[in-house]
């Protein structure tokens, strides 16, 4: 006697639970819930239903005489069955893994929306450090997992989407470009659309990723995109709309009393604050425009008035569905963003298709494709360039200049310095001498614009030859073109004749995989799974660039309109063939062993030495399953315990074309003032021999790593601890070691140097409060301490400059026994460390160059708390960094220019700088000589004299994220055409709770993601505080 029973399955938060499998206990009959979480099933009398779903406790519910049975699932915090997508899109149970992984679900990523997906990861995963480089629209974010692994390149992880590697390049990595005013062009991983992402898995160590090849040695971020899901209807429609606003978080704190000038004498020709008190200026004087005025007025809000509120709109629609024959999903997302710098904007359109179909019961095909088009305009320049740097212009704008006046008057009046014979429009300057441009002239006319057209995707065929043997073939590609143009209008101060720079970039990666998977039950206790595969990977880069100078007709940016066009182009291709194997043994579902091996043949290494093998081994032991009745610890106390360990070795190749002695066609000759002489000159073209001596007997680079970890859950999962200890050694690095320039070369390429990282990652999760009414409070703390150390360099080499910020007076250097440090001229000190003061001036004296501090933090921590109750979900995330330094040139500029608030204290009365004076006999006495003038004191603290004073402890505590989400109750939703409505409000980067750096956000970095080196700031666009709301509707 059967009858039909209906019901609804909901989550602990009372959300609909689609796809929950329901089985009549003791039978093979069952069903799954629909998209609304409802089900209908014919059941015999006195039966029991088994409800199961990954991540939730399996529930047995006896069916009495009722005809409806609603079930609310309980989360299984022990996550015993959690699955993880690992290398090559292979899905594994987390408990099998002998290494640490972290997964962030797609729903987490879209709650607090940041146009750059990476920023959403900040503070969430132990051992993963995400640093937003600037507040520029479309700005880049640096990702470092477990510390730097290379002396010669930024240790960025590999990004893999659905098994295919994708580019995270930045193409912004010329030091000269950055020093003289590069824009933050963003990093290409920001093309990933959060709406299309099912989950992101961070594989932190090399063991996790030996199968991806060498690039995985810096860790891998594995992205799985969404697929169609089974629902009650043939198709599910999800709409999502979100809006957010951005405002600059922190601008320099400026003085409001002093006009421009020199030593208290007013001078409108200067862009600073070293003049007299504004209130003391009476009678007719010239203002910065050259007009006679009776008095001057202070405009203290210039910075705040300059920046505007940025807006971001993200709208997306996704349609998906599935049947037992196949699944499909189509998504479209539109993102429109305007930045905090006037005139900066970004638009991104993303189309995603993912479809799978069973051709026969054993042959499965799948294809997926993403098309992303990103256009941006008006990204501001940063760095030291005098013509285009908003930060530099603002940082030199006298208090007497009204920025609102500049906004409405872009062009110079006749009374301001106009070069002899100049006709046409000319930028108004902020000084009578006409040196620094009106920032609005720059934002209006001098635009950096770019367009990226990108396609990535792949196709796969999977065939079950036998129940125990599967063959899969996969081909994937990622390619994009990026067209950039930056213009400088005629009449721009410092670039009077105008110029433009056209840069076309093409990058393509192609990868094929062919793999066979064998799964065999060896005995009742042992299961074996083996994968053998072949991989081919090819990467191509093509660039062409034209620098056009001297425009005949204003604002016509064509090559023919330029008096000079200098073209350069670049092409590179590299290939790798790899063979790999991955063998896993499972003993009684609690002991797991895994060994992998891979051999690569790389095109970039010497033909006789281009093959290298690298192995890994890992083990996982689930203690609580091996000894279910641990005598001492009751199951209710220690619910789950797993130990894991692994070892991995990774070999790797190097950049292409590094082996031969070559001659380079030259486009220009230059000196430090960058007034480049362009070739051909006088009809002569030019070549130069390479400045890097090519290597002999090059070997592959090597990395060896160890990792030990434990995962413990107590009290049924209310308390969890996941700890990892790791050690990574990088050796035989292929780097260009500086040789004395007197050899005629600047560097020699060779295998040299060892770099290690040792660290601890810990993740503590607690559920302090949980009530039957559905109230729940979860807290999580993740912690990472990484000790990076340069173990050795080439014999006799005492330091290695990884990045030269020479124009900034600073270098990022690697020294044996140290980590990467900022180095620069320090103040002269006595043997006790006191600053030595020059008795004739009362000022400090520059001393020798010294290390000013590590660029890496001592430790980082993220603390998140979330509280949920009846559809409400409130959470916040605090991000903490301790240690490391940042050198801020902006601070130096506003101080040496007499604009910073601290330069005006005490009415600029000369004071005694604490320090010592050297006596004639070599002893020291406390300084008793006041500074010659306050202006000279602060001017001397400029980076060009010594960066020491502008180098600060980079520790910070930030309120990174706050969000409140509300899932409308069923009762309300039922009256609408929708099946689900959720609303969220979020704020990001809200508050710098603690920082030791004045005037700026300590997170800025002008070097971008392509160079080794952090903690250098100059004219960086201030970071944003964002507040937004999100509405999600499902039909």
């Amino acid at each position: 006697q059967t009858r039909t029973i209906t019901g609804r399955v909901s989550s602990p938060e009372n959300e609909d639970m689609p796809g929950v499998s329901i089985l009549i206990k003791g039978s093979n009959t069952g069903t799954v819930t629909t998209a609304n979480g409802t089900y209908q099933l014919a059941v015999p009398a006195k039966s029991t239903l088994v409800f199961s779903f990954i991540g939730y406790k399996t529930m047995d519910v006896a069916v009495g005489d009722q005809t409806t049975l609603d079930v609310r699932l309980v989360a299984d915090l022990t996550n015993l069955d959690e699955v993880v997508v690992t290398a090559n899109a292979i899905v594994r149970e987390k408990k099998e893994l002998g290494y640490a992984v972290s997964t962030v679900g797609g729903s987490e990523l879209v709650k607090a929306r940041d146009p750059n997906l990476l920023n959403s990861l900040a503070g969430r995963v132990a051992g993963v450090r995400i640093t937003q480089q600037s507040g520029s629209v479309g700005g880049s974010s640096r990702v470092v997992i477990r510390g730097a692994n290379s002396l010669s390149s930024a240790s960025e992880p590999l990004f893999v989407v659905d098994g295919i590697p994708i580019s995270n390049s930045s193409f912004n990595n010329s030091e000269t470009d950055i020093v003289t005013g590069g824009v933050d062009v963003g990093n290409r991983a920001s093309d990933l659309n959060p709406d299309d992402i099912e989950a992101m898995t961070v594989l932190k160590g090399a063991a996790a990723s030996a199968l991806y090849g060498s690039r995985a040695r810096n860790g891998v971020i594995v992205v799985t995109t969404k697929r169609g899901k089974v629902g009650s209807k043939k198709m599910n429609i999800t709409l999502n709309t979100s809006y957010r606003t951005d405002n600059v978080l922190k601008v320099p704190d400026l003085q409001t009393d002093y006009a421009q000038g020199n030593l208290g004498v007013y001078n409108p020709r200067l862009g600073n604050g070293w003049g007299p008190k504004i209130s003391s200026i009476t009678g007719p004087v010239l203002d910065y425009k050259g007009e006679q005025v009776q008095s001057l007025t202070a405009h203290p809000q210039n910075w705040k008035n300059f920046f505007v509120t940025g807006n971001t709109m993200i709208n997306s629609i996704a349609i998906d569905g599935a049947s037992d024959q196949g699944d499909y999903r189509v998504g479209y997302t539109n993102l429109r963003q305007t930045g905090t710098v006037p005139g900066s904007e970004l638009t991104r359109n993303t189309f995603a298709i993912n479809a799978g179909r069973k051709i026969t019961s054993r042959l499965l095909s799948r294809a997926w494709l993403n098309y992303v088009r990103t256009t941006s305009d008006g990204r501001p320049q940063q760095g030291s360039n005098t013509t285009n740097i908003i930060g530099t212009i603002l940082a030199g704008t006298p208090v007497t200049v009204d920025i609102n006046e500049l906004r409405n008057n872009l062009f110079a009046p006749a009374t301001q310095s106009v070069p002899a014979g100049w006709t046409g429009d000319l930028a108004r300057a902020i000084d009578l001498d006409g040196i620094q441009n009106n920032p609005y002239f720059v934002t209006t006319f001098n635009k950096f614009s770019n367009t990226v057209d990108r396609v990535y995707g792949g196709t796969s065929l999977s065939y079950d030859v036998a129940p125990w043997l599967n063959l899969t073939g996969r081909v994937g590609t990622d390619f994009f073109t990026e067209n950039r143009r930056s213009t400088t209008r005629r009449g721009t101060r410092g670039r009077l004749n105008g110029q433009f720079d056209t840069n076309d970039i093409f990058e393509r990666e192609l990868q094929t995989d062919l793999l066979g998977t064998v799964t065999r039950q060896l005995s009742t206790d042992w299961t074996f799974k083996g994968i053998v595969g072949h991989q081919f990977n090819q990467r191509t880069i093509r660039r062409s660039r034209v620098l056009s100078d001297g425009l005949n007709i204003d604002q016509l940016y064509t090559f023919a309109n330029a008096q000079s066009n200098v073209a350069s182009n670049f092409y590179s291709r590299r290939e790798i063939y790899g063979l790999y194997g991955d063998f896993s043994f499972d003993y009684k579902n609690y002991l797991f062993l895994n060994v992998t091996g891979r051999n690569d043949w790389s095109s970039t290494l010497p033909v006789d030495n281009n093959s290298y093998f690298y192995p890994s081994a890992s083990a996982s032991f689930v203690l609580t399953e091996a000894f279910p009745n641990l005598g001492i610890v009751h199951k209710d106390i220690l619910s789950y315990a797993k130990l894991r360990a692994n070892y991995a070795n990774v070999g790797s190749d190097e950049d292409p074309y590094q082996l031969a002695f070559t001659y380079n066609p030259l486009t220009q000759a230059s000196d430090i003032y960058t007034f480049n002489i362009l070739y051909p000159i006088g009809g002569a073209s030019a070549f130069g021999a390479t400045n890097v001596l090519p290597p002999t007997n090059l070997r592959p680079q090597q990395q060896t790593s160890y990792e030990f970890g434990a995962e413990l859950k107590f009290f049924g999962g209310r308390l969890g601890l996941d700890m990892t200890y790791y050690k990574t050694f990088n050796y035989d690095q292929i780097i260009s070691i500086a040789v004395p320039q007197s050899t005629g070369y600047s560097a020699r390429r060779l295998n040299v140097g060892e770099l290690s990282n040792k660290g601890i990652e810990a993740m503590l999760t607690v559920t302090p409060l949980k009530t039957r009414s559905g109230f729940r409070w979860d807290a999580a703390l993740n912690f990472n301490r990484n000790v990076n150390r340069v173990e050795s360099l080439a014999p006799g080499l005492t330091e290695f400059v990884t990045t030269s910020g020479d124009g900034f007076g600073i270098f990022v250097v690697a020294k044996p026994g140290e980590t990467f440090n900022i180095q620069g001229v320090g103040w002269l000190r006595d043997p006790n460390g006191n600053i030595v003061i020059n008795p004739s001036t009362g000022l400090r004296t520059p001393g020798p160059r010294r290390l000013l501090g590590s660029i890496y933090p001592d430790w980082t921590m993220g603390i998140s708390n979330s509280v949920s109750y009846k559809g409400f979900d409130f959470s916040f995330l605090i991000d903490i960094r301790k240690g490391g330094v940042i050198n801020s040139q902006t601070v130096g500029i506003v101080r040496s220019g007499g604009l910073a608030a601290e330069t005006a204290i005490n009415n600029r009365t000369p004071f005694i700088d604490p320090g010592v004076i050297r006596n004639a006999d070599g002893s020291y006495r406390p300084n008793d000589v006041p500074v010659a003038s306050v202006q000279q004191y602060w001017s001397q603290l400029d980076n060009s004299v010594s960066p020491e004073t502008n180098t600060f402890d980079g520790s910070f505590t930030k309120l990174r994220e706050v969000r409140l989400a509300y899932n409308f109750p069923r009762a309300l939703v039922g009256k609408t055409p929708f099946s689900n409505i959720s609303l969220g409000v979020e704020g990001r980067n809200l508050w710098i709770i603690h920082s030791n750096v004045p005037h700026i956000d300590p997170e800025a970095n002008v070097l971008g993601t392509g160079l080794i080196g952090e903690g250098l700031e100059r004219g960086s666009i201030p970071s944003s505080r964002s507040i937004g709301a999100n509405l999600r509707l499902a039909f």
């Binding site: 380079n664 430090i672 500086a738």
Partner: protein, 454 residues
């Protein structure tokens, strides 16, 4: 990947014509002379005044502004010339003239580098074969440069082709002129040595007697710039880029101005322009620590024109050196009459090259005192210094060799606030070299004299 061309660089070449290396090396060398080695040196040695602009304060003897010249001279100039010589020597037949042209440029660059820094890598430098080149004594560098010039002169065949136009940016392949320059350069180097090594006087005498040196303004060694974007004289670009074409960086230095004024020299308005708030002929000079005002006189914008050539060796310089050789009795059969004649011809050439009218020039030259045993040291050195006004590298050498320490002409005093008690007498070795080459001499102060500076 065996037999595959995948790792063959499509962006660069594995063979090259030495002419292309030569044009690159000479352009880079000229750019350094007229750019990076102009501003800091002209200010440090008080030829120009900074007026407190640009952080290029004279009193700081700020050498962070000479950042790339050391490295680029070795890697982009000397190394490429060396490689060009290797390629030219492998040609069939050997391109002897090209080898000669490269060697002359190498000698020029080595001598210049030594006269700025003192002891420098020479015998083991710029070859890529010695990892840690030793620092040769200045006397050996200068002697070696002369020997290199002799080798080059021996290779020259005026009837054969070497590196020609457009890649020879100095003489368009005219080997006769290259030989003249090589001899004149030998003369200049020997003069820089003669105070420390008096035996050079004989060699100087012989050199002048045998002639074959720069003998007209058409023979002058100069690198041309053009009024086209990217081909302009960088001194113009500096003002154009940083100041919108308004000269407001390089001020009139009291040392030079006072000398001109004491000589009643008509070059004042050619060297300088009055400040924006000054009267028509009001030239207000600055000392090495004074801050500029609206009235401060500036280096004349006409000397910063886009198409002015960079002068490596001028005819006036040649004539004045000859006058000095004769006056000092290095040349057999010399007389002060002869010296005076060369001296006046040299000064005349100097004024004419600035564009002064012939009549005014003649009047001034006629009014110059005849050289005598008593006055020649001062009178000649004054004119030699003024002749090198826009050439701070040579001007600095001239000033340092014009008298014993403290007795230079014109006399200069240490700026208040200078980090050392004396005048700046050398450039300091760059950290790139110090950090990678343990042979780099240490413990040298900015005012430690070089070997030649007696």
């Amino acid at each position: 990947f065996r037999n595959s061309d995948i790792n063959i660089d499509p962006n660069r070449s594995t063979s090259v014509d030495p002419a292309l290396l030569f044009s690159g090396a000479s352009t880079q060398f000229s750019l350094l002379r007229v750019g990076e080695l102009t501003w800091p040196i002209a200010l440090m040695n008080q030829m120009w005044a900074s007026g407190g602009r640009w952080g290029l304060e004279q009193a700081k003897y700020d050498q962070t502004r000479v950042r790339s010249a050391w490295g680029r001279t070795y890697t982009d100039v000397l190394k490429n010339l060396n490689v060009a010589i290797e390629v030219a020597q492998k040609a069939q037949p050997v391109n002897k003239n090209a080898v000669a042209q490269c060697k002359i440029m190498m000698a020029f660059a080595f001598a210049q580098t030594s006269l700025l820094w003192g002891d420098i890598p020479f015998s083991e430098a710029a070859t890529g074969t010695v990892d840690l080149p030793k620092f040769d004594k200045q006397v050996d560098v200068l002697t070696g440069s002369i020997a290199m010039l002799d080798e080059a002169i021996g290779l020259i065949d005026p009837n054969a082709k070497g590196i020609i136009a457009p890649n020879d940016l100095y003489y368009g392949g005219d080997m006769t002129k290259w030989r003249k320059f090589a001899n004149s350069l030998k003369l200049r180097i020997m003069f820089s040595m003669v105070d420390a090594d008096p035996t050079k006087s004989t060699a100087i005498g012989q050199l002048i007697t045998s002639g074959n040196m720069i003998a007209s303004s058409a023979d002058a060694m100069q690198f041309k710039y053009y009024n086209q974007p990217g081909r302009q004289n960088p001194r113009f670009s500096f003002t154009a880029i940083f100041r919108g074409g308004v000269q407001s960086d390089w001020y009139c230095s009291k040392v030079v101005y006072n000398l001109l004024a004491s000589l009643n020299d008509p070059r004042i308005p050619y060297f300088y322009q009055p400040g924006p708030a000054a009267g028509a002929n009001e030239f207000v000079a600055l000392n090495s620590v004074e801050t500029y005002t609206d009235k401060s006189a500036l280096v004349n914008i006409n000397l910063l024109k886009p198409d002015l050539p960079e002068v490596s060796f001028s005819y006036s310089e040649q004539l004045l050196l000859e006058a000095e050789a004769i006056a000092r009795g290095f040349v057999t059969g010399s007389s002060f009459d002869m010296a005076t004649q060369r001296f006046r011809a040299g000064v005349k050439e100097s004024l004419l090259s600035l564009g002064l009218p012939t009549a005014q020039t003649d009047t001034y030259v006629a009014g110059l005192p005849a050289l005598t045993a008593a006055n020649y040291k001062t009178v000649l050195a004054q004119q030699q210094y003024l002749d090198l006004f826009m050439r701070p590298i040579e001007g600095w050498v001239q000033n340092r060799r014009s008298g014993t320490i403290g007795q230079e002409i014109p006399a200069m005093t240490t700026p208040a606030g200078a980090p050392v008690s004396g005048l700046v007498r050398r450039l300091l070795y760059r950290s790139e070299e110090i950090n990678s080459n343990p042979n780099t001499p240490t413990g040298l102060a900015v005012d430690t004299p070089l070997w030649f500076d007696k």
